[in-house]
């Protein structure tokens, strides 16, 4: 029975990760065709970094992820602070409104944003794509910050006022430091989401491409092993970021459990 369980698990992992491993191996394959192995090479990686189209889309992706993460983190944190002060009914309403974009299909978000930009006659490009990324990142930041905020006793805020702090000073010196772990998690999450988004990006830009839309365009022209190399790098980057986020979350949970068991 035990071995059966193990085999079952192995099959699941195999199906999940085999395609990615094949892609990774192919990125080091000397041959242009996946069918046969004709020797190890780093050529595709070298070509990748020489490709101006890819490099400029890499720049778009990274700069956009950075700006979107920063803006979404600021707006999301402020929203979370606001929502946290609401009374029960309005709070539940605001949370549900914030949650809809999270569960909503990307294609719906993408198409509706595209329609909005066409309707408002904003030319689609870097700016519209950035707006879209900020938009879909905000809810994730809210949901990363809010639990932390709910743990922070409202007594901290009152204690700060009691000691002579104006409300703005109390938020800066007491509330923000206390919820900082949640804010950083939200920012990392927003950065990752922006980094690997394709569907929303595809619909909200026309001439400016990020990595995912570039890969899509290249793949339509025929599979170039450069894409394998690029995809491998992106996969590794996202996995590293996710590991970082998970690691932080477990650490925080541990610290939290310690705190709770103490009191």
């Amino acid at each position: 029975m035990k071995s059966l369980k193990r085999i079952y698990l192995l099959i699941i992992i195999l199906f999940l990760y085999a395609p990615i491993f094949i892609l990774m191996i192919a990125s080091f394959n000397n041959s242009k065709y996946i069918g046969g192995w004709s020797g190890f090479t780093l050529d595709w990686y070298v070509q990748l970094f020489k490709d101006r189209e890819i490099m400029s889309s890499l720049y778009v992706t990274l700069s956009m992820a950075l700006i979107a993460a920063i803006v979404a983190t600021i707006l999301g944190t402020l929203a979370a602070i606001g929502i946290n002060t609401f009374s029960k009914g309005p709070k539940a309403l605001m949370l549900n409104i914030s949650y809809i974009p999270v569960v909503n299909a990307d294609i719906v978000t993408g198409v509706s944003l595209m329609l909005l930009f066409i309707f408002t006659r904003i030319p689609r490009g870097y700016f519209t794509m950035l707006l879209a990324h900020i938009t879909f990142c905000i809810p994730y930041v809210i949901f990363a910050v809010l639990p932390r905020l709910q743990m922070t006793s409202s007594q901290y805020y009152e204690a700060a006022l009691d000691l002579g702090a104006k409300p703005s000073y109390a938020i800066r010196k007491v509330i923000l430091p206390d919820i900082m772990p949640g804010i950083i998690n939200g920012a990392l999450l927003a950065f990752t989401l922006s980094l690997d988004d394709f569907v929303v990006s595809f619909f909200t830009t026309s001439n400016v491409n990020n990595l995912s839309t570039t890969i899509y365009a290249m793949a339509r022209r025929g599979i170039n092993p450069k894409i394998n190399a690029l995809s491998t790098l992106m996969f590794i980057a996202v996995v590293l970021l996710l590991l970082l986020i998970n690691n932080r979350t477990t650490k925080q949970e541990k610290a939290l459990r310690k705190e709770i068991s103490k009191s």
């Binding site: 006793s153 204690a159 009691d162 000691l163 002579g164 702090a165 206390d178 705190e259 009191s263």
Partner: protein, 347 residues
């Protein structure tokens, strides 16, 4: 007397959004350097009143004067009032020094002054040299002291304490009670203390304010409140007591449980129904032949210093604290001294 008042609460009422009336027309003045306790069961409005003084709640109507100034116009961060919170509310991301220095940094003292004041405050609460400690590595009792140090370092005129000893175990609680009281006398700060623990209130306070459902029941010294409770609620809440229905025949004469007694109260009129309060320790057991009250012993429990005896007379269970023992099922008699019988308006 008038200019001795530091806080004057006038006709304060507070209702919350749901329609609950937390405070109903509260009138109360607090004298300088007084240790005043707001006492009552949970939900009696004592914490709401404290939070109103701190500035975290705005009353629906009424006025509060603080040194003859309108307190309600002043935001919480400008009031010369500091609070020790129920769960301490120490900032977890700051160490002990950072917590205590928080208010001083806002007031822009220079580093040397802040260091000195923090060290002094820590000395006052008996934690000298703890500046560098983290909050989460301190015990509940120590956190409590830090919370007090953080408040008094700002030299408030009034210190509000919201059930500060509630989370501590009995031993630490008792030693902290004595310490708080001596601290208050040494510092000369007015303490407004909120608790539901009647024993705590009796041992520490100069004045006790007993509250129930948003209303003040009685204001007085611990001795007054204990010996002369104004109504059955106060009598029952402060210590244990026997509350019996009786008839005030005329001034200084009352009948209950089928007997007539002399007492010291008057002014109720003639043949008026009243509540009679007798503390369990004021019941004197005596021989059956002389006893005005006789009953059957239902139970007896040894409590250490005394026995707790329950005696049934005509369906009413008398609670008696006595150093004499008795057998369950036997009949015993007891008498009451006139000054141990307290008459209250029927409530």
């Amino acid at each position: 007397m008038e200019n001795n008042r530091i806080i004057d609460i006038q006709n304060i009422s507070k209702s919350f959004a749901g329609g609950t009336e937390a405070l109903k027309n509260i009138n109360l003045y607090i004298r300088k350097n007084e240790f005043i306790t707001l006492l009552g069961p949970s939900g009696c409005g004592k914490t709401t009143l404290l939070r109103t003084l701190a500035g975290f709640e705005q009353p629906t109507s009424g006025k509060i004067l603080f040194n003859d100034e309108n307190l309600l116009d002043i935001p919480p961060y400008k009031r010369k009032i500091n609070t020790v919170f129920q769960k301490y509310a120490l900032f977890p991301h700051l160490d002990v020094y950072g917590n205590i220095a928080f208010g001083l940094k806002i007031k822009k003292f220079d580093k040397a002054t802040i260091d000195e004041k923090v060290a002094n405050a820590l000395k006052t609460v008996g934690l000298k040299g703890y500046e560098k400690r983290n909050i989460d590595e301190m015990s509940g009792g120590q956190q409590q002291r830090i919370a007090i140090a953080r408040a008094i370092v700002n030299e408030p005129e009034v210190l509000l304490l919201d059930e500060p000893l509630g989370a501590l175990d009995l031993k630490i609680r008792q030693s902290m009670q004595a310490e708080l009281k001596s601290m208050q006398q040494r510092l000369g700060i007015t303490f407004v203390y909120v608790t539901h623990d009647q024993e705590e209130a009796l041992t520490m306070s100069d004045t006790i304010v007993v509250m129930r459902e948003g209303e003040i029941q009685q204001i007085g010294t611990p001795v007054d409140i204990y010996n002369e409770p104004k109504n059955a609620f106060v009598a029952d809440f402060i210590g244990e007591s026997n509350i019996i229905s009786g008839i005030m025949v005329k001034d200084r004469v009352v009948t209950f449980s089928g007997s007539t007694f002399d007492c010291l109260d008057g002014g109720f009129g003639e043949n008026t129904p009243v509540d009679v309060v007798v503390r369990p320790e004021d019941v004197n057991i005596c021989g059956l032949e002389k006893a005005p009250l006789k009953g059957t012993v239902m139970s007896i429990v040894f409590m250490g210093v005394h026995y707790e005896i329950k005696v049934n007379i005509d369906g009413f269970t008398w609670l008696i604290h006595s150093t004499d023992s008795a057998n369950v099922g036997s009949e015993i008699g007891f008498y009451l001294d006139p000054d141990d019988i307290h008459i209250m308006v029927k409530g």
